[in-house]
């Protein structure tokens, strides 16, 4: 399963947000999207998820135009993992994960034994099976994010779309979620994940897509494309890349440092 974006452009009321964005995501890849606020990351994700349809260019999966596929078919290919947020009505964790199986069921049917087993297996995969009967809204942020990941696993789509999944989490949970996502990519999922933290992209992603002013500023392996120059261009701040035995780290350049 693959996802191809070709010459994607999008404008809100004549104001251009995305311009000629092209990239390709294969299964097994962890592609991290970087870019400042308002650069069009969310717009890009909304186009891919079919929420915005007046874009120019094509978004295809295995050669099929996603905008022409029925919803249930797109749901077989892409799963979306949102940022955690308080839902209006709370469900149990199991009921929440079961909603991932909706695309496998006809409109009039209810999830049965097969779907419950699938949901439990998905919860087990992320180590959250013990939460199954808990109320989703009573969980910690990290637990909620795990549950949303397992809902995507229960959906059995091969590409995971994650829009800044770590931004509402504490430090430990950020790393735990990213580690889990990296493992999922190794197991064969294709992951498209946007983040505000270049260090996360550097440490966890297999490829990076950097957006600047709606265009692709860089696309490639983190070690090749992620440089102090790129970060300065994206965010307007100076950083230093330090080599350590555990990999490269990005630290801010403070006044007096030699960049």
């Amino acid at each position: 399963m693959s996802l191809e974006i070709q010459k994607l452009s999008f404008a809100y009321d004549g104001h251009e947000v995305l311009r000629d964005v092209s990239f390709r995501l294969e299964k097994g890849e962890f592609l991290s999207v970087l870019g400042p606020n308002g650069v069009g990351k969310s717009t890009l994700f909304r186009c891919i998820l079919g929420r915005l349809d007046s874009y120019a260019g094509t978004i295809t999966s295995n050669g099929d135009d996603l905008s022409t596929l029925p919803r249930r078919e797109t749901a077989r290919r892409l799963a979306y993992i949102p940022q955690i947020h308080q839902p209006t009505f709370s469900y149990t964790v199991l009921d929440t994960v079961l909603m991932g199986t909706a695309r496998q069921l006809s409109p009039f049917s209810q999830p049965g034994k097969t779907q419950v087993e699938r949901a439990m297996a998905a919860l087990e995969r992320v180590g959250a099976a013990h939460l199954a009967q808990r109320d989703f809204t009573r969980l910690s942020g990290g637990e909620q994010q795990l549950v949303l990941v397992s809902r995507a696993i229960a959906q059995q789509a091969e590409i995971l779309i994650m829009d800044e999944p770590t931004s509402a989490l504490d430090y430990g949970n950020q790393l735990r979620i990213l580690q889990l996502v990296r493992e999922l990519a190794k197991e064969g999922y294709g992951v498209l994940l946007s983040t505000h933290n270049p260090q996360h992209a550097l440490t966890f992603a297999t490829r990076i897509l950097a957006l600047s002013e709606g265009r692709v500023a860089a696309l490639g392996r983190p070690e090749d494309v992620l440089t102090p120059e790129l970060i300065s261009r994206l965010y307007g701040v100076d950083v230093i890349f330090a080599k350590t035995t555990a990999g490269r780290v990005i630290v801010p350049a403070l006044a007096g440092d030699i960049v």
Binding site: R46, T74, T88, F89, Y91, D95, F108, Q110, P111, Q133
Partner: protein, 339 residues
Amino acid sequence: MKMPDSRRAALSMAMLGALLAVLFVFSFVLGRYDMSPLEVIRILLSRLIPMQETWSRSMEAVIMNVRLPRIALACMVGACLSLAGAAYQSVFQNPMAAPDILGASSGACFGAALAILLGLARGGVTVFAFAASMLTIALVYLVSARTKGARSVSILLSGVMISSLFSAGASYIKLVADPSDQLPEITYWMMGSLSGARLGDVTFALIPMALGALPLLLLRWRINLLTLSEEEATALGANTGRLRLIVVLSATLLTAGSVSVSGMIGWVGLVIPHLSRRLVGNNCRHLLPASMLMGAVFLLLVDNVSRNLLATEIPIGILTALIGAPFFIYLMTRKESLL
């Protein structure tokens, strides 16, 4: 270990069902014409299986022509208003949504007032109320389709606007109505009442109610998806636009069908779904049937009070507001808030 949710919900529903059955039979016993529960059951069953007549003609007439239509209507209206309320709350992601939120009730009031002004008989009033109610919703949909912004918000706002237009129309009709007979009739209708219910009302309301309830019950698990964000619901494979339209139309049919035979009975569609959420949780798979059962029990109970407490009947709409509003204040102010 806590009982799994689905089993707890099934148990709650079985208990509600049993309660409804007992209350149903007991309601026939209440009233000025004394009869025993056993006789009631025998008379009701005699229509299905041949039985030796041990009761008088007048007893049978009271049960079949007076009490049965009224009791059946109380159950149907209670169940449908509650089902519509639960569905509206899910589809608008708003725990304060209620059956009259889109103006179905004020439309019905206008239609009923107009029919009374024109001097139509009871059947005409019912038909007018239903037609005006559906017309209101069609207008709300047309207006909201032309607005920008989030769909669920624009529908609610257009509902408020169109509804206030029809209320103004109804007020004007009250102004010009004959104060000696038409005005009291309009006022009484607007207060909501099941008195004088006939078998014809039951069969008239049955069609829109069945047409509204069936899709909601069939789609009930999928309706859960509409309570998520639009992005999530779409990505999970739901056709949100079509699903939302079906749910809103079905809930509106239920409301219009109910209001046209019973007048304005407020609070049921708001309070009962909340009580049901307490009992079986927010999963529509259990919430919708539980709301129906609880709504039927509640309205039947209140109607028994309405027709038996005082010598002159108290309109049921007044009673549901008297019970509903304080109860809702209690829900809002408890430590563990539902809202």
